[in-house]
């Protein structure tokens, strides 16, 4: 085992590098990703080592980034796109939803769209408007797209490589508030397939279901709950579409209590789908309604209000209390 401590930025960078070394058809494209190395430096050094044909600084036009990536797939390329910030993806929405997601289906399975759309997403970094959105649900509800969200440097390092190797189009949600946090990365191998959820902390009293930036928050909540004598199980979904709910179902049948946590707004967020599926699969084990701890149904607020807006430890534990009191 060759583990190395690194930030998530570095973990994705080394994952991209490994994919580019393994397959000369992998190209990386986006705004400011070449010479600058990306505004978050995720692509640092790649253009120098792989050339400007494989690491393309694009004009500032998100629809064109995705649209030209589609054309590149017709020549057998595997484009990895960087959308600079979550809130900048909407100009590309048509190309993603009407073209990327449908090309395989439109061609009766003849055309493949091995496109990875990387999106630094989520709040908590004190940013200006359009730099803290959580649009994962909009892509997860789009038939023909797959969506994943790593929460740790190790997962980010391997999931980006697995996503690039996939022949289906994948929206890769990167929790930008965790970019600069370090973790151990086993650069030799990983034991988790891309389409799998994972129990990251075992417990018996209630199940916290989350992904991306909120995994760390939920783990901290579970740690704090120990003082109250509660053992909370935490599940990192990792894949948002398709969902891998087998670990969730197994857990909720045991604990009888489920709390879903995400930054995205509540109404029709992923929590709604997860709550529905838990109801379908675990109805007779549930001792209380499924709780949701989410962002509120408003556009992302001014950053000085984001601590109140984002789910935090107290709101999560409060939801756990509600679930336990109702049973």
């Amino acid at each position: 085992m060759t583990t190395e401590k690194m930030t998530m930025v570095k973990a994705i960078n080394s994952g991209l590098r490994a994919s580019m070394e393994a397959d000369s058809k992998v190209v990386v494209m986006g705004e400011d990703i070449g010479r600058l190395g990306g505004v978050f430096r995720v692509t640092e050094g790649l253009q120098k080592d792989f050339g400007d044909h494989r690491v393309m600084d694009t004009p500032l036009a998100e629809s064109a980034i995705v649209g030209t990536a589609i054309g590149l797939t017709f020549r057998g390329f595997r484009p990895v796109i960087e959308i600079q910030f979550d809130g900048f993806v909407y100009p590309a929405y048509d190309q993603i939803v009407s073209q990327v997601a449908r090309m395989h289906f439109r061609s009766s399975g003849k055309v493949r769209m091995p496109v990875v759309i990387r999106i630094p997403y989520g709040g908590g970094i004190g940013a200006v408007e359009h730099h803290s959105d959580s649009p994962e649900g909009q892509f997860a509800m789009t038939a023909g797209l797959k969506v994943v969200a790593p929460s740790t440097p190790h997962d980010a390092h391997w999931m980006i490589q697995q996503a690039i190797a996939s022949d289906d189009p994948i929206v890769f949600m990167e929790p930008k508030r965790r970019y600069w946090e370090s973790g151990q990365v086993d650069t030799g191998s990983t034991d988790l397939p891309l389409w799998s959820s994972q129990v990251v902390r075992p417990g018996r009293d209630a199940t916290l279901i989350t992904y991306g930036p909120m995994v760390k928050t939920c783990l901290a909540s579970a740690e704090a709950a120990v003082e109250d004598g509660l053992e909370l199980e935490v599940i990192d979904l990792r894949t948002l579409s398709p969902l891998d709910l087998a670990p969730v179902v197994e857990s909720v049948r045991r604990t009888g209590h489920a709390v879903v946590v995400h930054e995205a707004a509540r109404t029709l967020g992923l929590g709604a789908e997860i709550a529905a599926r838990i109801t379908e699969e675990c109805f007779f084990s549930l001792e209380a309604p499924v709780q949701r701890v989410t962002g509120y149904d408003m556009p992302y607020p001014p950053s000085r209000a984001e601590e109140e807006f984002l789910p935090g430890l107290d709101r999560i534990l409060d939801a756990v209390d509600r679930a336990l009191q109702e049973s």
Binding site: H53, S63, A64, T68, I70, G71, L72, F74, R75
Partner: protein, 376 residues
């Protein structure tokens, strides 16, 4: 077409005269920059394509009226633009057509039955774009201009531009209408193609209407002139003159393959029919305008020219027989297009399917098969 009550209405039609090599009366004329280099047999081949493409269109229109197709977007009047451009392409080039570019699909060699399948509601495409280098027709206006640009960028990366090997150097072709020039995607495509000097030709069939909205409500300047601001050449060509369309496109494609960058071609033509079979063009344009364009018919002028050159009536009659056979093929093949099987569509969403899709497929199949007399 201009609004006489609006002094700010621009005239988008009278810039530089379009390149023309064959007049509506069937007279060959010269142009200082472009010439058609084929011989008489080549012109006969182009005429054959024009006749066949028109037959596909009229046959499909009739099939829609008989209830066999749900919808059909007629290309009537635009045959020369599509045949001229389509026949200028080489096998290694790649076409990105729209839903009205039946003539492009024909020139690339795909069976037009696939087009019937799309508008019958039996399929969303049918063919493999890799087979004959023609993408599935795009219905989202302008989206395909970016796909063509990306493909062209890929040609550059693959070193297939400017090598001087005629059978190797390749280009991409984006087809679009005048309506698409208002879309952001088209403008982004022109910008990117110019910046990257991508080997792509944007072939715009200016048929003067985006459904009901006339050209002067879509652009302040002639479409070809839009290229100037992006830094690529723009050429206006008589879109009803198959020789001129062939000559201009041949030159633009060669320029692209040679590594000299993209070109915007504006083929000035006219949509003689409705936008689709669901449209009523009498609500937004005058009969006199349609009559004026009828006199510029893209087929008549070639027929006149061929007769002047001594092509005999037997040849024309044989061509009619061939077109009749194509019509019969389409009528028959339309009946044989298989009904879409919803169960199998579940398997075509992804390369690697999902548990959810498998579950929903099983649910659907069980429900379907629960009925008395079901196939299972």
């Amino acid at each position: 077409m201009n609004d006489p009550f609006d002094p700010t209405t621009p005239d988008t039609t009278t810039d530089s005269p379009p390149v023309q090599l064959l007049t509506p009366a069937g007279q060959r004329v010269t142009d200082p920059d472009y010439s058609y280099d084929g011989d008489l047999a080549d012109v006969q081949d182009l005429y054959r394509d024009l006749v066949m493409v028109r037959r596909i269109d009229t046959e499909a229109f009739a099939l829609q009226r008989h209830g066999e197709l749900g919808l059909w977007p007629p290309l009537l009047g635009q045959e020369a633009a599509q045949v001229g451009a389509g026949r200028a392409m080489r096998p290694q080039d790649f076409a990105f057509p729209t839903y009205r570019d039946h003539g492009i699909v024909w020139c690339r060699g795909e069976d037009p039955t696939y087009l019937l399948g799309i508008f019958r509601g039996s399929s969303l495409g049918g063919w493999d774009p890799a087979d004959r280098h023609v993408a599935l027709p795009n219905i989202i206006i302008g989206a395909q201009t970016l796909h063509a640009t990306g493909y062209a960028m890929g040609l550059t990366i693959d070193g297939l531009v400017g090598t001087g090997t005629p059978d190797r150097d390749a280009a991409a072709m984006a087809f679009l209408g005048d309506g698409a020039t208002s879309q952001g995607d088209f403008n982004e495509a022109l910008d990117w193609a110019a910046v990257h000097q991508a080997p792509v030709v944007f072939f715009c069939q200016n048929n003067h209407y985006a459904i009901s909205v006339p050209l002067e409500r879509q652009t302040r300047v002639p479409i070809a002139q839009r290229a100037d601001g992006f830094g690529l050449p723009g050429v206006r060509v008589d879109g009803n003159d198959v020789l001129a369309c062939h000559a201009v496109t041949t030159a633009a494609l060669q320029r692209a393959r040679d590594g000299q960058g993209p070109t915007l071609v504006e083929a000035v033509t006219y949509r003689m029919g409705a936008h689709t079979t669901s449209d009523d063009p009498t609500r937004y344009r005058e009969a006199s305008e349609v009559e004026a364009w009828k006199a510029k018919d893209p087929l008549e002028r070639v027929a006149t020219h061929l007769r002047d050159e001594g092509v005999c009536e037997e040849w024309f009659a044989a061509l009619d027989t061939e077109a009749d056979a194509l019509g019969e093929h389409l009528r028959e093949s339309c009946q044989r297009i298989p009904e879409p099987d919803l169960a199998s569509l579940f398997d075509q969403v992804f390369v690697e399917t999902t548990v959810e899709l498998d579950q929903q497929k099983a649910e659907y199949v069980a429900w379907r098969d629960s009925f008395e007399g079901s196939v299972a």
